[in-house]
C-alpha cells in the first residue's frame, strides 16, 4: 500500500513539474509567506455504471447480465469448508480443494453525480498545535444526485473449479438464471433482496480532514 501511494504521489509531482512551459523557479521562505492562497477549488464528479442517459438500466451494455455484477469473496470461504494455509512468513497458500464462494450483487447499476464539493484548506488547532487540514464544503442546493443506484438481487455463487484452476468459471460469472414464469420475480436473476436508491443527497457544512500524527492527543 505504501509503495503504491508513493508512486501516485511521484506521478502527481511529475505532472505538476512537466506541464508548465517555463521552468519552475524556487520560492524562498519570505516569498512563500507573501503568497496568498486564493479561493479553493470546486470539483464535481459524475459516475455512471450500466446506465443510459436517462438513468435506466442499459440493456445493451448489460445484454448479458453476467457482466453487470459485482462479486465479493472473503478469505477462507470455500464450498467444502477447507482453509488457506500460511507459512512462517505469513504468505498465504489458497486451499487446494476449495472452490471460492462469492457474494454477488446482480444487476448492479447507478449514477452518482457529485455536483459540487468545495475543496479548501484550513487550519485546525488542538492544544498549541496548529495543523493544516483539507476542508470539503457542501452546498444543500447542490446535492449529490443519486439515481437508480443499487442492484437487483444478492446471491451466493460458487466457482466451478477448485483453487481457481483451469477452466474455472468464477462465481460472479455464473450464467444468469432468471426465475422465469410469471409474476414479480419472473424477469429477475435468482437471489434475494435487491436495493434501489433514488435521492438528492443534500449535505451542508464542511468536513475537515487532517493527519492524526503523534502530536495529536488521540494518536
Amino acid at each position: 500500500m505504501t509503495r503504491l501511494t508513493i508512486k501516485i504521489m511521484s506521478l502527481m509531482f511529475g505532472v505538476l513539474t512537466i506541464i508548465p512551459v517555463q521552468a519552475m523557479q524556487g520560492l524562498d521562505d519570505v516569498e512563500l509567506q507573501e503568497a496568498v492562497g486564493q479561493a479553493g477549488a470546486d470539483f464535481s464528479l459524475k459516475l455512471t455504471l450500466n446506465h443510459r442517459s436517462d438513468y435506466t438500466f442499459d440493456t445493451t451494455v448489460c445484454s448479458d447480465l453476467v457482466y453487470c455484477r459485482l462479486g465479493m469473496s472473503l478469505n477462507n470461504r470455500y464450498h467444502d469448508g477447507s482453509q488457506d494455509t500460511y507459512d512462517a512468513f505469513g504468505v498465504r497458500t489458497p486451499s487446494p480443494t476449495g472452490r471460492k464462494q462469492w457474494l454477488v450483487f446482480k444487476g448492479i447499476q447507478g449514477t452518482i453525480n457529485i455536483q459540487q464539493i468545495a475543496l479548501d484548506g484550513e487550519d485546525v488547532q488542538y492544544g498549541a498545535t496548529v495543523q493544516a487540514a483539507i476542508k470539503l464544503g457542501f452546498t444543500p442546493t447542490k446535492p449529490i444526485e443519486i439515481r437508480n443506484l443499487g442492484f437487483q438481487s444478492l446471491s451466493i455463487e460458487t466457482d466451478t473449479v477448485a483453487a481457481e484452476g483451469g477452466g474455472n468459471v468464477p462465481g460472479y460469472l455464473t450464467p444468469a438464471t432468471l426465475y422465469g414464469g410469471t409474476g414479480f420475480d419472473a424477469s429477475r436473476e435468482k437471489g434475494f433482496l435487491g436495493l434501489n436508491i433514488n435521492t438528492n443527497l443534500s449535505l451542508t457544512g464542511s468536513i475537515k480532514i487532517f493527519s492524526c500524527s503523534s502530536g495529536h492527543p488521540r494518536c
Partner: protein
Amino acid sequence: MKLPLLRILCLAIAAINTQSAFALVALEDEVLSETTGEGVAILPESFAVSMNGADAANGGAGTYGTGYMRFIPVGPLTATAIAKGYQKADGWLYGVSLAQSKRDYDVTIDGTDWGVPFGAFGTGATDFGRGVTSWGTADNPWLIKTLTTTEPNFFGTNKSVTYLGLEAPLYHSTQPATGTPASSAYNLKLGYWMDVAMRDAAVVESGYAGLSNRLRLAFAWNGFSVNGSNLKMFQTLDGVSVANSNVGGTYNATLKINGVNTLKTFNYGLSTSYNQTFGMAGLLRLNSRATDAVRASVALNSITREIIQLDYYPVRNYNTVSQTRAGLYVEGAVLATNTVVSGIGTMAAATANATNTTAGLDESYVPMTDTSKRGPTVDPDAASLPANPHPLGTFPYKDSYPGNFFDGGVCTGSTTGNQSGNNQFGQCLNNEGFTTRRFKARATNTWTPPAAKSVMRISTQELLGGTFGTGTPALGGGSGLDNVPDFRPNATPEGIFIYDMNVNMVLGNLYQPLMLSTDGNNFSVELARIPNNVNVYSKIYTRYESIDPQASVDPSVTYQGSTCNVHRCGTAVTYGGVGYQGSSATHSSITIGSTVYDASTNKLSAATGSDAYGVSFGESLAQAGLNTQASTDYVQVWNRTRTDSGGGWSAYGAWGAVAAKPALTGQPHPSLNRPTPYETVFNQNYNNQVLGIHTTMPVSNMAGTLNNITPLGSSALNNFGSVAIDGLLIQHLKFSTTGL
C-alpha cells in the same frame, strides 16, 4: 496501512494558504516511505445530511422527505408462508436525515422537534434540523486509523492482529456545557419515514399493481450522540481446529435418554470458518443522557386516611382445580376517617383505638356439635361463579371428626369424662374469631414528566387536515397518491414516545469477531461463539464481585469484562488533559428513561417508583386527578370462653382481643422458630376458615401507624415507565437466510 499521501497533501495545502512559514522541500522516496500517518482525522462542522427527492425542488435541493431507498423483495416465499397467506413485503425508506437538533443541547424540546422527521436544514418550525456545529473537536475528532495489537486467537494463543478502525469522537467524562461547539455532538437528530406494503408475488411489477395493505410510519430521534462508538475491520485470527480440544472438533458424552445411557457426539460450537476471514467488531453507543437523577414529579393533593372494616366471605373464589376456596375480603363500613392537606395524618389515638372492635368478626373456631347441627340447607354461595360443586357447608358432626371424645355428641353436652384432662376438653370451651381492619390513605395527585430533552417518536398518524396520500411517493401516480405525508403531531400527539434512551451495544471484539459466512446459497452473519478457553473468555466475562465477593468460582482467573453504559465503558482515558469514557467494555446496556445507578458495581437498573418515566403511548404530558392509595390490612384475633356447668355449657363470655404473642425463638431446630406465632389455638377447616391466625393489629400505635401511611402517587395513565437491560453479553449469534 500507512497514509503519507494525506499528510503531504495537507502540507501542500497549508503552503498554499500561507500559514506555512517554510518553503516546501522535496521529499525523496526514502524519506516519504518513512513517513507514517498514524491516522486520518475527520472533523465535520455545521454538517448535516438528508435524502431529498430526486428532483429540482427547493432551489435544487429536492423535495424534502421523498428521497428513498427501496428494498426489493426478490426471491420466492416458502410453501409454509404461502399456505398461511403471507406475501412479500416491499419497503421504501424515505428521507433519511441526520442533523443537529434545532435547540441547543440540554434545552427542552417539543413537537416542533420530535414531530418533524424530515425537512429543510434550519431552525424553523417545519425544518428538520441544523448542521452539527462541531461533530467532535480538533482534539477529539473522528478517526480512521490502523493499529496492530496482540490478542488471543480462538485457541487462546496470543497473536498479532492488525485492524482498520473507524472511531467516533470519544464520550466526555463530563458533558460539554450547553451551547459550546463540543456539545453539538451530543445533540443529534435522526429522522426517516417508511412505507411498507404487501406485494402479491403473482403480479408483475407495474405501478401499484399487486400492492396492498400499506404500513406507514415515521421515526424521529431528537437528542442523542454517537460519541464513543467505533467499528473495527480486520482479518480474524486462527485457532479453530479439530486438534485443539475445547475449541474445534467434536466430543462424545453419555446422555441418559429414556433411562438408557446413550453415547452422543457434540461439537465445541466453533467452526473452522472462523479462521482468518473478514471480521468486524463494533461498539455502538447511542446515548441521550444519564438519567439516574431524572424523575417525573408527583404531587399529592389532600390525603384522606381511613380505617375500614373488612368483611370476609370464606366460601368465595372457589378453585375448580384444587377444589379449595380462597375466600374474599370486601371493604365494609368506614370506621374512622381523617383528612389533611398534606403530610402525615392527624387522627387521634382514641379515634383509631375505638375501631378495634368485634364488628365484622369471623369465627375461625366453633366447638363441634352433633349431627343434628350439620350445615345449612340453603347454598350460601349460590351466586358465585363458577358454580360451586359443593354448595353446602359442612358443619361438624362426629362421623367427620373421629376422635377420642367420650360423649357421642362431641361438645353437644358436657358429661363426666370430657370435662377436663387430656381429651381435648378445651375444644369444647373456646370460641375463636378474628377481625380485619384496612388502614388506607388515599389521595388524588398530579404527575408531571421531566422536561423532554431526548425523545424518540415512532408514529403513524398524519396531521389532521392534511392531504393524505394513499400511495407512496416513489411510485407517483398523481391524484394524491404520491402526496408527501405530514407527521407533525395533532392536538393529542400520538405514537410511541421513548424518552432518554441509552443504547450501548458491544458487538464483538478482536477475539470474538462478527463474520459473514454462507451455507450453500444462504448468507449469514455470525458473531463468533466465545471459545471455551480461559485466555479468551477471561477477557470477556465479568466477575461480579458484589455477588461473589470470595471469588469462589475460578479464583485464579482474572476476568476483565465489564459493562458499557452511559456512565462508564471500560477503563476511562485522558487525552490532552480531557477525560473521556473508555471503550474496552464487553457487555451491553440498554436503558429507557429513569434509572438507578450503582457506581460501585457499575450496574444500572430501571427506576420502579411512580416517578419513573421512559416509554409512553402518546406524548408524555402532565396529568391531574390521578387516584392513588396505599393500604395495609391488620388482623386482630379474638377469643371467648364458656364453662362446664355439669351436664351442659354456660353461655359464652364476652369476646376478648388476643394480644400478639412474642416471637418463638431458640428452638432445638431453627425450623421450629416462629417469628409470627399464631394467636388462635384451635384449628378446624370445616368451613374454609383460616387455620392459623396471627394478630398484627398495632394496638399500641394504631393512630400513628395510620397517620404515617402516605400514598406514593400514580403515574400518568399512558406512561409505561422505564426500561433497563444491563450487563447483556452475546455468547453466540447467527442470522441466516434460509431456503435459497
